[in-house]
Amino acid sequence: MKMIANHGYKDGSGEYYISLDTDKCSLCEEHGCLDGCPGQVFEIEFDDWDEEVATVRAGARNKLKQICAACKPVSGRPLRLPCQIACVSDAIKHSW
């Protein structure tokens, strides 16, 4: 069964969520997201069914707008972000 984990928040300025398809994650052995994200937003943990999945670390969940800003320039934003390029399973999506 597919499980989508949305980590982030909504505040007065907008919605900032990173969505992780943990079914794809659980099959991944490379964990490219760990080093691929310059802001070191991700960590690997065991989920409730003892499968290794990526998650957004607790200290970053409420600061995604600021942390991810470095990879999201106002002009010339790349089609795929560094974390998405590093994730070979194509499991990462950003809401903004």
Partner: protein
């Protein structure tokens, strides 16, 4: 200092309960779930998968002590000791600090499983309105999470925000919902993005002559619109149920139902115990699994 200044209007009822239909647990499989949340702690004890006893109390400053107090209060008058409980799951913010737990499971998974037990297998969308966060959860017919979305950025839209307003307006928290529904005309909601701004706004409205009922209606309305945006972002699918302390507030629940155009399932258990109940159900399943794989569980291990 007058009585109104010292009275704690936010204080909700703490209590324990024992199922009168289960006279004795001896000879049965006893499992437990302990939910140490940011604001409240619950312990649920199940006997052969049936709800046997629970406690619901305020979380103290020390998570391990809160977990021990909660389970001791649930066991009160049952003759149970910790050694009689075959498997315990810790959940909630303090799940890794439940000293007697065999395993820690996230509150998201536990709430979904608990709601499946409380409301039945038709629940697909669950809103858990906790003390300091709010979660929109999708689950399947077995109570397994298929997607979730959490917002813990601000106390707005959480139980703590409601406690702040109960104290500000000197209204007992159990009466907030009914009072907010007594207004003839629905006022515009106050700020839904920050509880500090909302409190400032409410103080201004009181000075402008608004009644307590009208201010409470404006806050309940703000809370409802905030959580509805969370639900809509994650997608809304029937049946819909609400867990957590705010589920007991008809002022928020009815406004959520009105905005969504969907009626929430009516609870038959205390909505605050959903997480601990799910933990106890996980404990039963995990004990059965461990029993197949291993001869016996050896002692207690710390939650991860």
């Amino acid at each position: 200092m007058n009585e109104n200044e010292t009275k704690e209007y936010w204080r909700w009822k703490e209590y324990n309960w024992k199922n009168p239909d289960i006279p004795d647990w001896r000879g049965s499989l006893v499992t437990a779930g302990v939910d140490v949340g940011s604001t409240s702690s619950q312990a649920v004890i199940m006997v052969d998968g049936e709800l046997y006893a629970f406690s619901n109390m305020r979380t103290g400053s020390d998570s391990p002590s809160s977990a021990i107090d909660a389970i001791n209060w649930a066991m009160e008058g049952t003759g149970l000791t910790l050694d009689d409980i075959r498997f315990t799951v810790g959940t909630g913010y303090g799940r890794v600090n439940v000293p007697f737990a065999n395993k820690a499971v996230t509150e998201i998974a536990c709430h979904a499983r608990g709601a499946n037990f409380m409301y039945g297998p038709t629940v697909r969308t669950l809103l858990d309105m906790g003390g300091q966060d709010c979660k929109a959860i999708h689950c399947d017919e077995r109570g397994k999470v298929t997607s979730f979305l959490m917002n813990d950025k601000c106390a707005a839209g959480t139980g703590r925000g409601m406690e702040v307003f109960a104290n500000l307006l000197a209204v007992p928290i159990e009466e907030v919902g009914a009072m907010s529904l007594s207004v003839e005309e629905e006022p515009a909601p106050v700020s839904s993005t920050c509880v500090v701004f909302a409190k400032t706004e409410a103080t201004g409205l009181l000075r402008a002559g608004w009644s307590k009922e009208k201010v409470l209606a404006a806050y309940c309305s703000a809370m409802a619109s905030r959580v509805v945006s969370l639900l809509e972002r994650n997608g809304m699918e029937k049946d819909f149920a609400i867990t957590g302390g705010i589920a007991k507030n008809p002022g928020v629940v009815q406004r959520i139902e009105r905005i969504l155009g969907v009626e929430a399932l009516k609870p038959i258990y205390d909505t605050q115990i959903a997480g601990a109940l799910g933990g106890a159900l996980f404990a039963k399943a995990l004990f059965a699994k461990a029993g197949k794989d291993k001869p016996a569980l050896q002692g207690k291990m710390a939650g991860r």
